[in-house]
């Protein structure tokens, strides 16, 4: 398979970027999107051109490192997949593919397709944890948790923090990410204790980072490789309003 790639190239955070066009030859339909980029990079290296920089790690859809806007969609076409799990068979011979980095002010481009997502880390530092005093590891079954709560918390905890929600949102809002992190802790008894200060601190941090506002387009939910439901955003809004009305810990 032969493809035409239009890829964003940017030397570093300070420099002006631009699109470059490359041809990917001999693309095997069974390759993942990242493997296709590896092959293109081999070719570029042979020609003495700097390889295309892109984030990747586990390549099995669970780490959240890959972050490519492919043909106008975060992680490319298809629901519930990361770019590393996207296979070239979804494209056709001769297709033109545009590859861009995530675009958001809190995600500055580091190089080519690599963005700095440490704004997410700072949101987590603001409250995305439970305070545990030191001591022995508690028994796993010491606190009984109802199955529906455990399931719901697990649905939210599936978030891998890739940032596709921000990339896909017309407003570059991080509400789905923050909502998932707020909810997976608040749904469990261990996390419930600090739920109110957590939701305030994490939303404050999100706003400080300069993410946009949620205007309910639900693009985040459609782009999320873990298919996290936007009802977590409603849940977080509810939690936040309750906290604003009654700030004391419930």
């Amino acid at each position: 398979m032969k493809l035409k790639l239009r890829i964003w190239r940017q030397k570093n955070a300070q420099s002006q970027g631009r699109f470059e066009t490359y041809t990917a030859e001999n693309v095997n339909p069974h390759m993942s999107f990242l493997e296709m980029l590896d092959v293109v990079n081999e070719d570029l290296l042979g020609k003495g051109i700097d390889p295309i920089a892109f984030d990747h790690d586990c390549r099995e859809g669970i780490c959240g490192a890959c972050s490519l806007m492919i043909n106008g969609e975060a992680h490319g076409p298809g629901r519930g997949v990361t770019a590393c799990q996207l296979h070239m068979r979804v494209f056709k011979e001769g297709d033109e593919i545009t590859v861009e980095p995530w675009r958001a002010r809190p995600f500055p481009v580091v190089r080519d397709l690599v963005v700095d997502r440490s704004s997410f880390d700072r949101i987590i530092q603001a409250g995305g944890y439970i305070s545990a005093s030191t001591g022995g590891v508690p028994d796993a079954n010491a606190i009984p948790i109802g199955k529906p709560f455990a399931d719901k918390a697990m649905d939210a905890a599936a978030c891998i923090g890739c940032g596709a929600c921000v990339a896909a949102c017309p407003n570059a809002s991080a509400m789905l990410f923050v909502a998932a992190k707020v909810s997976h802790l608040a749904l469990l008894p261990q996390g419930r204790i600090e739920a109110k200060p957590r939701v305030s601190a994490m939303i404050q941090s999100m706003d400080n980072e300069g993410f946009g506002n949620c205007t309910n387009h639900f693009e985040c939910e459609a782009a999320c490789p873990k298919e996290i439901n936007a009802d977590f955003i409603a849940r977080m809004n509810r939690e936040y309003l309750q906290t604003k009305i009654c700030p004391e810990v419930s």
């Binding site: 043909n71 017309p170 387009h217 939910e221 409603a234």
Partner: protein, 215 residues
């Protein structure tokens, strides 16, 4: 945004219910208008609340738009949204058109400045002849068409706005979301039909007013 939006949505429902009394004939309609006017200070309290709601709604919309633009200084070369709707993406545009419409609408029926020749008649009981004002205004096709056209952005704005408000207030979950979405679209459509029917009925002659035939 959500709270002020829902307040104005409440007004839109009440206003529609009142306006539909036009189908009950001139007596009922004029009596209803007189009743509203006789509320005195309560009417002004309601007007102030609505105006404040509108002001806050517009100011938050401007703030949101600026913040959202700032959040993505460099846009995508190719951006293919998957699920968002036309209504959701054009909230600002429909909002601007609606604000302009509200100004015209107030000048027309509240301040009675745009069509003074039909706006200051009185019925046999000496009440302001609101029925005549409405029917004769809408007999002029550009006015009727403008009103019907203005209900399109209203319908779009509400079709996204109503369910969006419930999501923003956290009064939603994944079971209710599709219900709210469809209900909002249905209600928006009904509101469009309800409001647009009045100028349409006047223009087509379904509702008529003949001078001197007042009871």
């Amino acid at each position: 945004m959500a709270v002020t939006g829902l307040m104005m949505f409440g007004f839109i429902l009440g206003h529609l219910a009142g306006n539909l009394l036009i189908y009950a004939g001139p007596d009922t309609f004029n009596a209803y208008a007189k009743k509203l006017q006789s509320l005195g200070e309560f009417l002004w309290v309601a007007r102030c609340i609505l105006l404040t709601a509108l002001l806050f709604h517009v100011l938050s919309a401007i703030q949101l738009t600026f913040e959202n633009r700032k959040a993505r200084p460099i846009g995508y070369r190719r951006y293919d949204p998957e699920v968002t709707t036309y209504a959701a993406r054009t909230m600002m545009l429909s909002g601007i058109i609606l604000t302009a419409f509200i100004v015209y609408h107030l000048l027309h029926f509240t301040f009675r400045l745009t069509h003074p020749e039909v706006s200051n008649l009185h019925d046999a009981r000496g009440n302001h002849h609101v029925y005549a004002m409405v029917v004769q205004s809408f007999r002029q096709w550009p006015v009727a068409v403008a009103y019907i056209a203005a209900m399109v952005p209203l319908c779009l704005h509400l079709s996204h706005g109503i369910s969006s408000a419930f999501q923003s207030l956290g009064l939603q979950n994944n079971r209710l979301l599709p219900v709210f979405k469809n209900a909002a679209r249905g209600i928006a459509l009904l509101i469009f039909v309800g409001y647009a029917s009045i100028p349409a009925a006047c223009l087509s002659g379904l509702i008529q007013y003949t001078a001197g035939r007042t009871p």
